[in-house]
């Protein structure tokens, strides 16, 4: 997994899920799960309203 979601910051809004080009994210009730389709493109981290996502390459 190449991205890290800070669950203490996340407001579980689903914005990151809507922009992920590969469909790698899933909002499960109150947390985000990432699957192997993540390409570390960083789009989710950029748009997250809370700044809760970090991408490491």
């Amino acid at each position: 997994m190449a991205i890290k979601v800070n669950k203490f910051k996340c407001g579980y809004c689903g914005a990151c899920v809507g922009v992920c080009p590969t469909g790698a994210l899933e909002l499960v009730e109150t947390w985000i799960e990432v699957d192997e389709n993540c390409t570390s493109c960083g789009i989710c981290a950029r748009i997250c309203p809370m700044g809760a996502i970090e991408v490491s390459r």
Partner: protein, 402 residues
């Protein structure tokens, strides 16, 4: 929850609930699932709706109306104010809702109409056979389950995964969303009769800050910025800055975050056995970000088309095309117009926004609509707003010298 329904609706927001209610009222068996354990909670920003439009779907109830708004006040970056009375503020002004209770009231309406409503239940995939969607794979309280249906209505909001499972590319680019954060605040001291909008690229890059009254001294203070302008600083950071400066003594009682599609209509909102409604279909208004009424309109159309399709036993895209056509001819047209306006406005510098505001300083707006406001702006700023001329084709024909 049974194993088989005529229609499964995924997502219990306003669009899903109206779709479920409409279909159930026509006598179809309907299941509506919601993955959150509480319908309407957490709220995903902005809670304003137009009175006239709301009435078409549900009788207003004081239990979920926090404030009744007379007008809006728009501030340009240099503080110039444009005031508009309620009839002319466009889609977003009228009532400020308590979404938690509103969404639940709508879900209750669909339950009363006969739909089965289940919460804490997440769709994990679609059942597909011979190119047709035939039901939904679910996770209900930790247990996997399959529910078969003749049609599926995807009302899963900004995430819009249902559409993707059916092969519709609903993914949004950063420039196609407004990323939003909102505080419910006490002690802002605002006049509760108005909604306030603050424009300025420093404050809210390609977006705006809103302050909506929520009754009894409370207010929603929120921000939306264009996704492509987010990154180093995020929506929450801009909002904190504004609040620290504007309402240093106010308290934050709630934080809401979310995103609104401002992409304009996507290419397809149907597949064999499937329709998408609301934010999932990217049907929100690109200027106001308003999605509640549009979702309800689309939900109603989808519910009606579901009934027609099932009556004829034809779930193909050829049949569901009726849904596509009907929403595009109505709300689709407005979304397209708003997109033109959005594309013009997001490019403006603060200086340009100021000069637009100044051009309206002596105009009286008590009897104008949003389109009239735009037209007044256009007439005073033809060069700057030349791209908007398509909106006024019919009006402009009667003008000389254009």
């Amino acid at each position: 929850m049974k194993d088989q329904y005529d229609v499964v609706v995924i997502g219990a927001g306003p669009g899903g609930s109206i779709a479920a209610k409409t279909a159930a009222k026509k006598g179809l068996s309907v299941l509506m699932i919601e993955k959150r354990q509480e319908i309407g909670d957490p709220v995903r920003c902005a809670e304003g709706v137009s009175k006239v439009w709301l009435r078409k779907h549900i009788e207003p109830d004081h239990r979920w109306i926090c404030a009744d708004v007379k007008g809006s006040r728009i501030f340009s970056p240099d503080g110039t104010m444009i005031e508009m009375a309620e009839e002319i503020s466009g889609g977003e002004v009228g009532y400020v809702l308590e979404r938690k209770l509103f969404d639940r009231a709508l879900a209750y309406e669909s339950a009363k109409a006969g739909a089965d409503v289940v919460v804490k239940t997440r769709a994990t995939g679609l059942i597909t056979e011979n190119g047709f969607v035939r039901g939904v794979k679910l996770m209900h309280l930790g247990e996997e389950k399959e529910v078969r249906s003749k049609l599926v209505i995807g009302a899963d909001g900004i995430e819009s995964k249902v559409g993707r499972w059916a092969g519709i590319d609903t993914s949004l680019k950063p420039a196609d969303i407004e990323t939003c954060a909102q505080f419910l605040m006490s002690g802002t001291g605002i006049d509760q009769d108005y909604c306030y909008f603050y424009l300025g690229n420093e404050m809210a890059p390609s977006g705006y800050i809103w302050v909506f009254p929520k009754g009894e001294g409370l207010a929603n203070v929120g921000i939306g910025i264009l996704g492509s302008k987010s990154g180093k600083k995020h929506a929450i950071d801009y909002l904190k800055e504004f609040v620290e400066q504007k309402f240093p003594d106010a308290d934050i009682l709630e934080i809401d975050v979310g995103a609104v599609p401002v992409s304009g209509s996507i290419e397809r909102t149907i597949a064999n056995g499937l329709m998408l409604v609301g934010d999932a279909a990217r049907q929100s208004d690109p200027i106001t970000g308003g999605g509640i009424i549009n979702a309800m309109e689309a939900g109603r159309i989808a519910g009606e088309v579901a009934f027609e399709a099932i009556s004829r036993n034809d779930m193909s895209t050829a049949m569901l095309e009726t849904y596509e056509k009907r929403w595009r001819q109505t709300l689709g047209m407005e979304i397209d117009n708003s997109l033109i306006v959005k594309d013009v406005f997001i490019g403006f510098t603060d200086k340009e926004i100021n000069s637009l505001a100044h051009s309206l300083e002596n105009v009286n707006f008590s009897s104008m609509s949003l389109i009239d406001l735009l037209y007044a702006l256009f007439r005073a700023n033809k060069k700057l707003l030349w791209d908007l001329r398509v909106l006024f084709k019919n009006v402009v024909k009667h003008e000389t010298g254009l």
